[in-house]
């Protein structure tokens, strides 16, 4: 009898143990997001994003994006308009422990389709390679430590569940729901710091950012603009001097002093204060500047930055923001990255706030 009891307990334990991996495997499977679900999430995101440029937007699945451990990380969708013209991109996580939307952008986009025989990896941007080893080898040669993309399981899962259970019978990107999104983007023109005529192209990101900001402010204020100097390149060169930029670059302090001096040329009393992305009211400051004052913001990325940060040692012009289902994205124009990098790039605020310094402008009456 005792033997039977023991046998029963042992069998029960064995059954229990054999179920554990099955259950956990099922849990793991449930984390995966299909292309169809990702597309639904992206469509909802477009709908929530409530942006005129994505009115009547269609999605075209372009490619899978992989992580450095060869796991499927995300899906790349091209956003097209009614005339089937490319109008931006959305990158959606392929698992529920990240995202849902990892990145999006308007305007021109990374050409991910034309890389035959290569896989696309999403490692601080998109990298095309035969396999992950090729990337790892290059990284090792250059003393770069690569890690798999950080998971934000708790936040992401709840957002995924919300997105996928929030059933909407038919998705129409023409019928907006405005409740889920707050957003604004200033129509700032993007200038390329390596355009013909710019004297110190390799260190002109600060002055170029300043020129983008000033030319936009000219529409509403009495500040100098590019045509006052004979063109955009000359305007950038002028700001290069005014910001005391050198071959070593521009500091945020010099950017602030130079830009304020420049904005005061016609007699207006411009003032500004620097702040960090992690300051308590940083996001509010940034949002208010754009919402209430139509002020683009100079953003400086630090030299030493964390893995998730967009870039390092660089200035960009912060020109917009979006809050989609509580997730904050900041949009900016990058003065570098090629002459075609004209679109507005939107990045997660929480991925970058620890490594950015910003300039809050205002005008005294």
């Amino acid at each position: 009898m005792k033997h039977h009891k023991f046998l029963m307990i042992a069998l029960s334990l064995l059954l229990l143990i054999s179920f554990v991996p099955a259950v956990s495997a099922k849990n793991q499977l449930s984390e995966h997001v299909s292309v169809a679900d990702a597309e639904q999430a992206a469509l909802k995101f477009i709908r929530y994003a409530n942006d005129d440029r994505w009115l009547d937007a269609q999605l075209k699945f372009a490619t899978n994006l992989y992580d450095i451990d060869e796991s499927l990380l995300a899906y790349y969708f091209i956003v097209t308009d009614k005339a089937n013209q490319n109008n931006g991109y959305i990158i959606v996580s392929a698992t529920k422990d990240r995202g849902p939307v990892l990145e999006f952008g308007f305007g021109t986009y990374e050409n991910v389709e034309n890389h035959p025989g290569k896989k696309s990896y999403y490692i601080n941007g998109i990298v095309h390679a035969t396999n992950a080893n090729e990337i790892l080898q290059k990284a090792t040669e250059n003393n770069i430590k690569l890690r798999t993309k950080e998971k934000t399981t708790d936040v992401s899962r709840s957002q995924w569940n919300q997105l996928l259970t929030d059933h909407i019978a038919t998705f129409s990107t023409t019928a907006y729901s405005t409740t889920a999104t707050t957003s604004k983007e200033l129509s700032v023109s993007r200038y390329h710091q390596r355009m013909t005529g710019v004297t110190n192209q390799n260190s002109a990101c600060g002055p170029t950012t300043g020129a983008m900001i000033t030319d936009y402010l000219w529409y509403f204020h009495d500040v100098p603009r590019s045509s006052d100097y004979g063109g955009v390149a000359q305007h950038i060169n002028h700001l290069y001097d005014e910001m005391d930029t050198t071959i070593f670059g521009t500091s945020l302090s010099d950017f602030t002093t130079g830009l304020l001096k420049h904005l005061r040329h016609n007699g207006e009393k411009w003032v500004g204060v620097k702040y960090r992305g992690t300051d308590e009211v940083a996001w509010n400051n940034y949002q208010w500047d754009i919402d209430d004052y139509n002020f683009p913001t100079g953003i400086r990325f630090d030299f030493w930055v964390s893995d998730s940060t967009y870039t390092n040692y660089h200035f960009v012009a912060g020109i917009g923001y979006k809050i989609v289902n509580g997730t904050k994205y900041f949009g900016f124009k990058d003065p570098d990255g090629g002459s075609n990098n004209t679109g507005t790039i939107y990045k997660l605020w929480s991925d970058n706030d620890q490594d950015i310094g910003l300039l809050h402008l205002w005008k005294q009456s």
Binding site: A139, N142, C205, H314, D336
Partner: protein, 159 residues
């Protein structure tokens, strides 16, 4: 050991320490191509490149001065010649590999449209360590030692 000889060694040691530190700092302030965005804010590595050049040249002068005295008294220079040439060849090979891997990681040089450094000057925030690294540091010393050895032999012959 004469007073002058001792002084040369001390100056050489100080310059060696300073130049090694500056080479390390150049490496620290050279950006790695591990980001989506490209840095266009100048080259902070130049802060250390500019002072290291005269200091390194001064150090090479002291390498020459110290080695001249040593090589002049040597009877069998062939061994040194062989070692220096072998080391120089190894360093040239290492430097070649370094340049190749650097350019691969950057997607090409300044004239390649797909490169991170397209339209950049050759010496930029991403390429400092392509020019200032362990191989080039040792190569400079080896070339001076080879020149010093040759001059010492010629001096001996003409004595």
């Amino acid at each position: 050991m004469t007073k002058q000889w001792k002084k040369d060694w001390i100056v050489f040691a100080i310059l060696l320490v300073f130049t090694v530190i500056l080479f390390v700092l150049i490496d620290v302030f050279t950006l790695k191509n591990d980001r989506e965005g490209v840095s266009g804010n100048g080259n902070p590595g130049l802060l250390f490149i500019i002072p290291v050049i005269p200091l390194y040249i001064a150090m090479l002068v002291y390498v020459y001065r110290i080695s001249q005295k040593y090589f002049f008294s040597q009877n069998n220079p062939r061994l040194y010649l062989g070692i220096f040439i072998a080391l120089a060849l190894a360093c040239i090979f290492g430097e070649y590999q370094q340049i190749q891997s650097h350019l691969r990681a950057l997607g090409g040089g300044p004239s390649t449209p797909d490169s991170v450094i397209y339209h950049f000057p050759w010496l930029n925030q991403y390429t400092n360590t392509m020019f200032f690294n362990l191989y080039t540091y040792i190569l400079g010393i080896l070339f001076v030692l080879l020149a010093s050895l040759t001059i010492a032999r010629l001096k001996r012959k003409n004595r």
